[in-house]
Each structure stands twice: as structure tokens, then as C-alpha cells.
């Protein structure tokens, strides 16, 4: 595994994304961050902390589990059900979905379906730490930490405390 981003890189990225979110939404009043478990949640927490600093008011992040909305439940190993915690009303909010890696786009497709069952947001935006390409659906991110061109055989691994023991981004070949 080769490290491509350090903990400091990740801190700068979350701060920059926070600024971009404020710029896009003209403030934070109607912004609701929803992290996709497992690693989207701690990343959303970091962006929320940066947003709170910038805006001077408390911004909290929720989580949106998409396991029950996957389109490949039949073929993948048993999915665990993660927490869904929506701290503010969905209706009329500017939702920012937060995930670690954007790849095929199927996770985000599932997240959009899950959101639609929970309410009607004004807008849905997408923030990811790494966009590694290879989309299988017409989905694009609004806020990107780093575009990381990869081959399908490679593996991109984002680590975030406290889910992991360390923080950073690694890339590895098919053999690990």
C-alpha cells in the first residue's frame, strides 16, 4: 500500500470543502451534512466542525445508511445495517452527502433512493474525499478532495479516526 494523502492533507481538504459548501449555499443555515457509514460519518463530522468554525454557529452531521437500498444485496456478502440518524428535517434542506471514495456511483444512487423515502430536500450535493473514476451511473460529485486516477484492479483505502487507527489515504494493487 502506497500512501497518497496524509492526515494533514485530509485536514486541509475538509477545511477547503467546508469553505466551498458555504460558498455554494450562501451560508450554512439550511445545510445538513449526512455521512454514509462507515467512513462518511467521521468525515462529515470533520467537515461539520470546519463549517461551525467558519460560520460561527453549530453545524451537526447525521448519518444515512444505504445498506437496505443496495442493488446488489443478492450477490454480496451479508450487509450489516449501519446507523441512520437524521438530526434535522430533510424537507427543504440543502443536503450534502459525504462519503470517502466515489467509484461506481452505486452507493450514491442508493443514498438518493434512501433520501427520497425520508423527505424532499431542496437540493442534494455530494462531497467525497477521493474520486477514483470508473462511474457506472450518471453521478458526479460537487465537492472533491482529490481526483485520483486508478485502474479497476487497484484498491483505494481511506482511513479516518476513530473508525480506523490512523488517518490518511492509501492506494494498493490487486494483491493488496
Amino acid at each position: 500500500m502506497r500512501q497518497v494523502m496524509s492526515e494533514d492533507d485530509l485536514a486541509r481538504i475538509t477545511t477547503r470543502i467546508a469553505h466551498e459548501i458555504v460558498e455554494r449555499n450562501h451560508g450554512v443555515d439550511s445545510v445538513l451534512l449526512l455521512g454514509i457509514p462507515t467512513r462518511g460519518k467521521p468525515i462529515a463530522d470533520r467537515i461539520a466542525a470546519a463549517l461551525s468554525d467558519i460560520a460561527g454557529s453549530q453545524v451537526v452531521a447525521g448519518s444515512l445508511d444505504i445498506g437496505l437500498y443496495r442493488d446488489d444485496l443478492d450477490t454480496r456478502p451479508r450487509t450489516r445495517i449501519g446507523p441512520t440518524d437524521i438530526p434535522a428535517p430533510i424537507d427543504g434542506a440543502n443536503i450534502v452527502l459525504v462519503d470517502d471514495v466515489l467509484y461506481t456511483g452505486r452507493t450514491i444512487r442508493a443514498a438518493l433512493d434512501a433520501l427520497a423515502d425520508l423527505g424532499r430536500p431542496a437540493t442534494v450535493q455530494l462531497a467525497v474525499i477521493v474520486d477514483r473514476g470508473h462511474r457506472q451511473l450518471p453521478i458526479r460529485p460537487d465537492f472533491v478532495g482529490k481526483n485520483l486516477p486508478t485502474s479497476v484492479e487497484e484498491h483505494v483505502s481511506v482511513h479516518v479516526e476513530p473508525v480506523d487507527d490512523d488517518t490518511g489515504v492509501w492506494i494498493g494493487g490487486a494483491d493488496g
Partner: protein, 305 residues
Amino acid sequence: MNHLLSTEDVDRETLEQLLSDADGFSEVLSRPIPKVPALRGKTVATMFFEPSTRTRMSFEKAAKALSADTVSFSPGTSSLSKGESLKDTVLTVRAMGVDLMVVRHKSTGAPWRIAEWLDIPIVNGGDGAHQHPTQALLDCLTIKQRFGTLDGLRIAIVGDIRHSRVARSDIFAMTTLGATVVLVAPPTLLPVDAEDWPVEVADDLDDVVPSVDVVYLLRVQTERGGASVFPSLSEYARRFGMNSARFDRLQDHAVVLHPGPMNRGVEIGYDVADDERSLILAQVTNGVAARMAVLFRLLGGEHDA
């Protein structure tokens, strides 16, 4: 886990995982649209060879909340009354394109036989006086939501243990999860094999009341000959009923569970049933979430090898 037939052979990790999933499904059920597409395209058959309304409704609600389709079977209106065998009946229903069967039967072991005949997951919805594993799951879920864990809790199961599939299922699930179970029953209502179980046994409810965290009251099953094995309902109520006086002697944090339907004034006092510390309606609500966890475990994702 390819079937859920009994709590006796389910390990702690699997139980904990089912309870954790059930917690997630409780959240789903509290949403404005309490439905997720996880089991879209799957069909769940409820095969109730013995009458039941609530358990069947709970399974059907669970299946529908996961977007599965349901078909149901009732013995009174079926070819069973025309002499069709159990095996032919379930093979016929399987051939319609059913992905999972929930079976309730008055004969012990019927769900195991059906699991041998068919190639799909079978969930035991209650077989005779033997097992009723989803009831145990919802009971454990209710207790876990209240106390955070079952580990170290002292739980009294009171009443007709001998004829109770609920008791058998609860005993194994609760002790696997780390609780201590005390059976409280007149000797005539204790099963002969109780001494082989990982439980304590007492015959005086008043001795047990001050020390327990949970009191699980079993229904007096008049339809299974309950009334013939003790002198009278009023004597049962006097010795084993959770009346107000006994309720007041419970620890402040202790709670009361009952699998329903209740006989108020017999195993549970009229006022006790409505107290905030009686979790009977929470059990019913949790039944749907617990059964969702079981259906999802058996139908969502690849089966265990």
C-alpha cells in the same frame, strides 16, 4: 445461519448481530415511510397450520416493510382439509415461487421436517410446546433497549414452563446473552428436563421478586390444558400472578414482560399491565423489527456456507 428453527443452536455473536440489525429496523419503522426496498422481489409464505393472528400479522408486516411479497396459508381453507399431506402442501407452495417459509405447527419438530424437504430458509413461527425463536428475539430486544445489555441481568420466567415454547426459546436466548434465568412455577408446570437447562428453579414467586431485573409472565394457556394442571385460576393468580402488591416489591428499575394475549387478573394484575414498567406493547412493536432482522439475515445477501 440458513434457517431459524430454535434459539438453542444460535451462538451469541449471531444473536447480538440480529439484535443490532433489529435496532436498525426499529429506526426504519419510525420513519414517515416505514419501508425499505431490501427484499424487493422476494416472496415470504406464512404457513400457519395452527391458528394465530398476531404472529402472522407481525411476520407479514415485517416482510412488507422490507418490500417482500407475502402469501399466506390457513389450514381451514386449504387442501389440508381435503387430506393433502404436510409434505405435499409445502412442496406445492414452494413450487409457486416462494423464497422463505414461516411455519407454525402444533407438532414439535414440524419446521425441521419441512427444512429437510425444501431448499429454502425456514423460520419456526412456533412448534407445539417446543420453540418460538422470534418471540425470544423480540423479548431480548425489548430488554436490551431498556437495560443496554442482557449480560448480568436476573430474569424470572413465571408460570406454565412445561407447555411454553416461549419459555424454552427465551431460556436459551437469554442465557446465551449472559443473563441468569430463574424459573418460577408449581412443580406440575415444570418440564421433566428442566434440571438439564442452564437455569435456577424456584417455586415461590415472593422469594424471587425482590432480586430480579425482569419478570417474564407466561400466559395461562387454557387451550393447552392449563386449567387441569393446577386447582383453579384464582389459586394460580394468588401464588404466581403479578398483582399490585408483588409489583410494588420489585426493584425500582425492574420491568414486566408478557408474550400476550394477557389474561388480566390471572397471571398479571389489571393495573400492572398498564404500568409504564410493563413493556408489553413495546414487545409487540419490537416483534416487527426483530422479524425483519431474521428475514433480512436469511434472504439478504449470500447464504452462509
